[in-house]
């Protein structure tokens, strides 16, 4: 990128330069910590652009970004499209309710068609875990996962990490600055792609991560937590799983609520929303267990009065609107990094 208006990731003194090597971003599990730092630094640059009077740079001028959303989403889709337009990309938006998908077209056919129509970067949201990996196998360009099933929501985890580092005092210094900071994620962990991607990034960041919710909505997570006991995964710390909301929140630096969906009652996983709220809602009294400077987060959309009390959602601790704003910057950074990555190599494994 030659023009002065385009950002170039700078390399802070004392850290080695890291090149972006991923053709796709399907999950954060394969992203190393130096690469996360690169994303964070690039996001800083993008925040700088967003602070300007004219929030547009020609970095992706003429590049074609297509959003393909199989699940209803306003915030994530608009965030990606805003990010792409800020970089001057051409944006095509496909909502499956109005596409050939309603006529039974397969994901593979849809992706091949979009590629034939010129899509270079495919941003995808899908209700089935792993669907972006299938898309990545047949797509010649770059796939950016905008959330798949219960599996992953990498841009959410990265914007959460960015927001934590920005808002926790001293945390934006380079190098594992969340080390020892206690992060409590409360809600429906079992069905949450946000929680799964956050496990990867936050255990890499050295955070003291706690996952909390009713035992029926934590199913299986203890296997994951105990599998890493002793730091078996290189570069990742362990985390805790509990239904003890007070233990999870006590002295936390970050408190994150997750959406509770009504379908969970029909599946017999919860007696009622009322009972959930009584035992697990992030209300002022519970959040007061956290550290005085703790921040409150939520990936949205919120059920105020269920998983989070309205006064907590809008309190001075809440950084929920920061998350939304940072989401655009993080997605700009990722579109920029992916666009600069190499094109498909034949026979390459999509991971």
């Amino acid at each position: 990128m030659e023009t002065a208006a385009t950002p170039a990731p700078s390399t802070p003194a004392g850290t080695a330069a890291v090149a972006w090597r991923h053709r796709h971003l399907l999950d954060v599990d394969v992203v190393t910590w130096p690469e996360i730092e690169l994303i964070m630094r690039t996001t800083d640059e993008m925040k700088g652009i967003l602070a300007r009077p004219i929030r547009k740079v020609p970095a992706l001028n003429g590049r074609r970004v297509t959003t393909l959303f199989y699940e209803a989403s306003t915030r994530t889709r608009v965030s990606f499209e805003t990010a792409a337009r800020n970089l001057s990309a051409d944006v095509v938006s496909i909502a499956t309710g109005t596409s050939s998908v309603t006529k039974g077209e397969s994901l593979v056919d849809t992706v091949r068609t979009l590629e034939a129509l010129g899509a270079e970067i495919l941003v995808m949201r899908h209700g089935v875990s792993g669907a972006p990996y299938l898309a990545a196998e047949v797509f010649g360009g770059h796939v950016l996962n905008g959330g798949d099933g219960w599996h992953a929501h990498p841009t959410q985890a990265l914007l959460d990490l960015y927001t934590m580092r920005e808002r926790l005092p001293g945390a934006s210094l380079p190098g594992g600055s969340l080390r020892g900071r206690k992060v409590a994620i409360v809600g429906d962990i079992l069905h949450s792609r946000v929680a799964r991607s956050n496990i990867w990034t936050l255990t890499a960041a050295g955070a003291d991560l706690w996952l909390c919710g009713p035992a029926t909505l934590l199913r299986g997570m203890d296997r994951w937590a105990t599998a890493w006991d002793g730091g078996a995964i290189p570069g990742h710390g362990r985390f805790n799983v509990t239904s003890d909301i007070e233990a999870a929140l006590r002295d936390a630096d970050v408190v994150m609520g997750l959406r509770i969906q009504r379908e969970r009652m029909q599946g017999g996983l919860l007696p009622s929303l009322r009972e959930y709220a009584a035992r697990f809602q992030l209300n002022a009294e519970r959040v007061s267990l956290a550290r005085p400077e703790a921040i409150v987060m939520h990936p949205g959309p919120m059920n105020e009065g269920v998983e989070i009390a309205p006064d907590v959602a809008v309190s001075g601790r809440s950084v929920i609107t920061d998350q939304v704003a940072n989401g655009v910057a993080v997605r700009m950074a990722l579109l920029y990094l992916l666009a600069g990555a190499r094109e498909a190599a034949p026979g390459e494994v999509a991971r």
Binding site: S106, V108, G130, R219, G220, R223, W224, A227
Partner: protein, 499 residues
């Protein structure tokens, strides 16, 4: 024709046998091969001669005559019997036909197959049996096609299929495979009625209420991958139900017999082990994929299950081991029951070794690309496995985990004994002994254990390319399959060495 494996080249079986598939083998001699005869329990170096479709002579060599013949070279064994396969005809001929399935079977060394009745229409009345037999005759393949009848009309789990008429038509037993016999009450009736007919009920043990929406074995891998869990309890609970109902049914039908197919969990196999010890008339099989693969393959691991087991008997961590080398969510790994843990695979092997499992059955389940090249959770369940079963068992043998003779027995006398126990098949060739028997119709497979072949969509004869082994090399290239004295498969390279 004389074949001499010591003569150099790839196995050295050659020149070509001569006749086309389906024709009687006029003359075939093989010297210096390793013979495995599970009927007599004997194995060792020897020679065979086939004349006009008859296994004319089986000569065992003394050790001083054997030269360098070992069990690691060319092996002769009785033709394999697959107790559980799907050839999809009628109804799903784009996935497989009786003709393509038979060709695949012969390529895998199988000379007899037993086909599950989940076709469309289901095999719930004798006309469908005849339709499948007629397709088998028309295929020209000598592979013997046995058929199971459905337990329930339309496999709907409501009322019994035409079991008596199906028995008269010669079915090997009854199953609603693809799904369990839906209710305990229907299972009890089916066991009693089939018992009256002298035939077994083959159940696919699954509590479908517990597996609604399930995508992968409920465990560490599914938790990390965000896949809906397929609990062990769904198989264990169903097996417990089946065994309890069987015990009751015996009061009304002493000949009632239950076969549990494709068991995948340590706990379910343990229930069968105890039921057998208590004298219940129950048998079971395990599949090559549940013996050899673990759920970590869905995350991208590509090591054998026995390589994924820690010294403490617990599965190793594929993330910690940095063992994830392939793209995750490969739908060729979506199968029912799901791939379990490495510890469960070890339990399947232990069951095979101690006789709890009576046979290895492939559950050959071919699917089209349309049904498999989709999102993982939407993909059809099943593995195209009839051509890779031998190679997978040989990998277990090469790893020292399974003696060659036991592997062969699980593919031959194991299923044959199950078939022979079905009174309705008396006199049928399915009930004949599986051995290297002089003077009997030649029914055998010749394979070169040291000759590896690459599994590719092109190398599979099945229409179903949904094999997790695609891209891998497996040992034990099948050189020749003779079914009932007729040529079923001949490796195209056989004649090359003689040229």
């Amino acid at each position: 024709m004389t074949a001499n494996p010591g003569g150099g080249g790839r196995g050295g079986v050659g020149p070509a046998v001569g006749p086309a598939v389906g024709e009687t083998v006029g003359r075939f001699e093989l010297e210096g091969a390793w013979l495995v005869d599970p009927a007599s329990g004997r194995e060792g170096p020897g020679e065979i001669v086939v004349t006009n479709g008859i296994l004319e002579s089986v000569a065992w060599l003394e050790s001083d005559e054997a030269g360098d013949v070992t069990e690691h070279g060319v092996v002769v064994a009785p033709g394999f019997f697959d107790f559980h396969a799907h050839f999809r005809e009628p109804g799903f001929e784009d996935a497989e036909t009786v003709a393509t399935g038979s060709a695949a079977a012969a390529h895998g060394g199988f000379t007899t197959v037993a086909l599950m009745p989940n076709t469309s229409p289901a095999v719930d009345e004798p006309g469908v049996v005849e339709r499948i037999r007629s397709a088998a005759r028309a295929s020209g393949s000598p592979v013997e096609v046995m058929v199971y009848g459905a337990v329930s009309a339309g496999r709907a789990g409501e009322q019994l299929a035409a079991m008596g008429e199906l028995a008269d038509a010669g079915v090997l037993g009854f199953s609603d495979d693809g799904a369990p016999v839906r209710t305990p009450g229907l299972l009890r009736s089916a066991l009693v009625y089939a018992g009256m007919l002298g035939l077994p009920v083959i159940d696919h043990a699954e509590d479908v209420e517990l597996t609604a929406g399930a995508e992968a074995h409920e465990g560490y891998v599914a938790s990390v991958m965000g896949l809906a869990g397929w609990p062990v309890a769904a198989e264990v609970g169903a097996v417990a139900r089946d065994l309890a109902v069987l015990a009751e049914a015996l009061a009304d039908a002493p000949r009632a017999r239950l076969h549990l197919t494709h068991l995948s969990t340590a706990a379910a196999l343990d229930l069968v082990r105890r039921a057998k010890a208590a004298g219940l008339p129950v048998s079971c099989d395990v599949t090559p994929h549940h013996l050899s693969l673990a759920d970590e393959w869905i995350a991208g691991a590509r090591r054998w299950a026995w390589e994924a087991l820690g010294a403490d008997g617990r599965p190793r961590d594929p993330w910690a081991d940095r063992a994830l080398v392939a793209a995750p969510y490969n739908t060729s790994l979506r199968v029912n029951p799901p791939l379990r843990t490495a510890a469960d695979a070890a339990a399947c092997l232990a069951a095979l070794l101690d006789g709890t499992a009576d046979a290895v059955a492939t559950d050959h389940a071919p699917h089209t690309v349309v049904d498999k090249e989709v999102e993982f959770g939407k993909a059809a369940t099943g593995i195209s496995g009839i051509e890779t079963a031998l190679g997978v068992l040989l990998c277990l043998a090469d790893a020292g985990a399974l003696p060659l003779s036991r592997a062969i027995a699980a593919l031959t006398v194991g299923p044959a004994r199950l078939a022979a126990a079905a009174a309705g098949t008396a006199g049928s060739s399915a009930a004949r002994p599986r051995g290297l028997i002089e003077g009997a119709s030649a029914d055998l497979v010749v394979f070169d254990r040291s000759d590896r072949w690459r599994v590719t969509p092109e190398s599979l004869f099945s229409k179903g390319k949904n094999s997790p082994f695609v891209g891998r090399e497996l040992p034990g290239r099948v050189l020749l399959t003779i079914a009932a004295g007729r040529l079923a498969y001949e490796d195209p390279g056989i004649g090359d060495d003689a040229a």
